[in-house]
């Protein structure tokens, strides 16, 4: 099944290298969730994710001809996406556009989410705590944590995207969970 999927993805890459728009579209749509999650895990700002995603799409369209092995499309695109996201983050930090601190940003995002998902104030606070804890993770742990909590993304796929061994993914995930768990517990204790 996985082999068939890879084969069809390779065929799509070949078609994309010939300049077929539909092939580009299918390739990007298939990989969209993890790509977006990866970008989000680096820039930690939902408002800017779309801009970076557009830049990534442009780069993929322009540079797909440089990809020699179509089977390596995912890792290749992951590298490209990471580079674009880091570039964006660097540009932002240089311009000093972001004047809000993380707590305020998280608060605003939770306001949005709360409106969509929750009415309960207590639950809203819990979500806010988790979001803050996720954002405060070191980048390598945050990437793994966000990718692994996306639907249908297995450890092996996360490892392929991040170009690390599967065991590294497992270890980083356990540590990320532990860090988030401890942070939430500490906050609860402080509040009490």
């Amino acid at each position: 099944m996985k082999g068939q999927e890879e084969q069809s993805e390779s065929a799509l890459v070949c078609a994309a290298q010939k300049g077929e728009k539909e092939a580009f579209r299918l390739l990007l749509m298939r990989n969209w969730p993890w790509l977006k999650a990866l970008v989000y895990s680096i820039i930690s700002n939902t408002d800017s994710v779309d801009d970076v995603m557009q830049d990534i799409c442009v780069q993929v369209i322009r540079k797909v001809n440089t990809l020699r092995e179509p089977a390596c499309f995912r890792p290749w695109m992951a590298v490209l996406a990471r580079r674009q996201a880091l570039k964006y983050r660097q540009r932002k930090s240089q311009r000093r556009v972001i004047s809000l601190n993380n707590d305020e940003v998280a608060g605003q995002q939770c306001d949005y989410k709360a409106g969509q998902l929750l009415d309960n104030l207590e639950l809203r606070e819990q979500y806010q705590q988790v979001l803050q804890a996720v954002k405060s993770l070191p980048e390598i742990y945050r990437q793994v944590f966000i990718l692994a909590h996306l639907e249908d993304l297995k450890y092996a796929q996360v490892a392929e995207i991040l170009d690390v061994p599967v065991t590294t993914v497992q270890i980083r995930l356990v540590r990320a969970r532990r860090m988030i768990f401890n942070q939430i517990k500490d906050k609860e204790k402080n509040e009490v």
Partner: protein, 183 residues
């Protein structure tokens, strides 16, 4: 079971990637360890919240994928195309050699033409005798004591049958000669 191993097992269980053997080991641990069971409940809760949160943050936010792709495609189309010549391996090698050859030749000619000293075209003076020299035929040449230049030596037999040893500089100039009876 060690704590980190327990957390790995719980993580695999939560992510639905646990093998049957690992699940049996985890269940056995949970039966015997109350703290492990409590940890599982807490991590399960955290896992569920994290999944909802990340889905909400990442997937339910912003513009649609189709819209972003269309914009990117338009942006790509607007960009003027730049003609890039792509060379295969052997062609690239040949092009490299040709370029090297051209650069080498250019350097060779440039350096050589600048460094070669001008050739002094000078008529060598005729010396008749070491003692009986005339001012017309003789040049003011540097004295042999002060010169350190490389020279060639020639022998010359005149009409009287006398042999002359002639010192000839390599730069087309002739120095004073000396007569030697013994030669």
């Amino acid at each position: 079971m060690k704590e980190e191993m327990l957390e790995i097992m719980i993580g695999k269980y939560l992510d639905d990637q646990i093998t049957p053997g690992e699940q049996r080991a985890l269940e056995a641990e949970l039966d015997s360890n109350f703290e492990a069971k409590e940890l599982l409940t807490q991590l399960q809760d955290l896992h569920q919240r994290s999944c909802e949160l990340i889905a909400s943050e990442v997937l339910d936010h912003g513009r649609s994928a189709d819209e972003i792709f269309e914009r990117a495609w338009q942006q790509h189309k607007k960009r003027p195309s730049i003609g890039i010549i792509r060379l295969s391996g052997s062609l690239r090698f040949a092009a490299g050699i040709a370029a090297g050859l051209v650069i080498g030749l250019a350097l060779h000619f440039t350096v050589l033409t600048r460094s070669t000293p001008p050739i002094i075209r000078q008529k060598p003076p005729v010396v008749k005798s070491p003692d009986n020299t005339t001012g017309e035929n003789r040049q003011n040449l540097p004295s042999p004591q002060n010169t350190t230049r490389n020279v060639d030596w020639y022998t010359f037999t005149d009409e009287n049958g006398d042999q002359w040893l002639i010192e000839g500089l390599r730069e087309n100039t002739v120095r004073t000669a000396s007569f030697q009876e013994s030669i």
